[in-house]
Amino acid sequence: DTKYPGIGREATKAEVAAWDIDVRPDFKGLPKGSGTTARGQEVWEGRCASCHGTFGESNEVFTPIVGGTTKEDIKTGRVASLTSEKQPQRTTLMKVATVSTLWDYIHRAMPWNAPRTLSVDDTYAVLGYVLSMAEIVPEDFTLSDQNIAEVQKLMPNRNGMTQAHGMWNEGGKPDVKATACMTNCTKHVTIGSTLPDYARNAHENLALQNRPYGPFRGADTTKPPLA
């Protein structure tokens, strides 16, 4: 470099290969390989289920991965339960539109306590197994770099994303436009929501989360408010 002599060096091919592990929605970066759901089940039960549950349903360590998607969703590419108040949690498969995201992330970061220890083939296998639990692919399936683009077409929420908003770029158009009224702005002030009683002390005693001197104390939330 003539502008900044002496700084930085060429990356070697092997170095780039070692670190450039991302996989994009167009599958750029996806390594060749494959894995069966049978092998996937082994991996899942051996290395994933303890945190995510046997069926990917566990809420113990993180929100569930599997659940809330239907055969109908696979057809439409829109997860219907996302508009239902009944579905208590949004699972991973209810949200994710791109199968590449899951391949990339599992390979990059899972198992959580031993990231980057899954082989490429095992990543295909376990991802295939997760998809099979959600009945996106058959019970007996071999996911590979060859057929993953076809699987993409089955993702239940593949049509569920919009980028039609003004919030990706600084110059984007905000979607609400409030005005700065200064006087007599509301006839009746109504309180829509207050802190539930059980939440008063749910973050432990606020008296101990404020300075013991100064303009204010912390309220003693182990007791009811002062009379």
Partner: protein
Amino acid sequence: ALGATATGAAIAAEGEKVILEKQQWQTTLGQPVAARPYGMPSQWEAALQRRESPGLTRVPAASVAFSPLQGFFGIITPNGLHFERHHQGWYDIDPAQHRLMVNGLVRQEKVFTMDDLMRLPSVSRIHFIECGANTGLEWGNVAVPSVQYTHGMLSCCEFTGVPLSVLLDMCGADLKKGKYILAEGGDGSGMTRTIPMDNALKDVLVVWGMNGEMLRPENGYPLRLLVPGVQGVSSVKWLRRIEVGDMPYATKDEAVHYIDLLPSGLHRQYTTVQECKSVITTPSGGQQLLDKGFYNISGMAWSGRGKIKHVDISVDGGNNWRRARLETPVLSKAITRFNMDWVWDGSPAILMSRATDETGYVQPMVKQLREVRGTRSIYHNNSIQAWKLDVNGELSNVQVG
């Protein structure tokens, strides 16, 4: 009844003992210099700590520790109290072992050591970092009792580093095809985020310095990205790689999280700008006033779209507003501290602040946001915060309207 206090208590006719009697610190020799070669806060400041919100996450290494904004002053976040958000825990990486790689659509893929990076032309700038999920707990209803938990995923520091544009220039980035960059972290989560190239060239920094010293391990030591004005997750910590590409990457934290569920069932993807927002930090939820009389209402305002133009304060639930004083400096994509005189007469009050930024955007009521985005958005809740002051002097978290 209002809380009793030392100050409020009657003073004996001659005066207070702490004045009339000589105190230990006036009559003995104190501690030497450099007793603590690296200093710590007073023993009396133990209440000000980073804290988790119980029940919010299930495992503390994929969690949040909130900053005690209720005790902060000014705009600078003390490094010891910067909020934490990790996806796979934090590391104290040896800087001699750390590398930054630039690859993808560049003329020359490169590797930089910390030795290299810190020789480059550096800049220092004060910016806020706000997690996209800050105040997310309150999209539906009031859920948490104090500003530490409503707004405590917020910081503002002076960052020092090299503009990303310098690195892209050194590597000969293809600015025609390369419309996006991917930033990747060196931790177990290998956090990855897409940043539009325009943005990357404008004001994004690769930083090592934070408030005069190196980044803290919890905040990405020895290297992080700093994407001003954009949700914190994009300011990738323990930064190890920058890739130049021609499309967004839809990484896990762009395709499964940090997406906003609309009432239609669609999710907004790649919502990153932190819109104009403010909050009164003192007095605030869970604080207890000891007496009627004069108070300084104080808080923070910030905008991902530039400078704060003004902040208005209401003490009657939003019916009438008065303009607050802004402290200097007022900087782009940085916190601005505001203050306002107030005499509390002992009657109930509802305190709210409303910021306007230099684009003219006015911080909205939560109702307005819900009209467009519904109640299940999690991220980007920049609505006006209200604190209800009761006759007993206690403030609590409420939503107005």
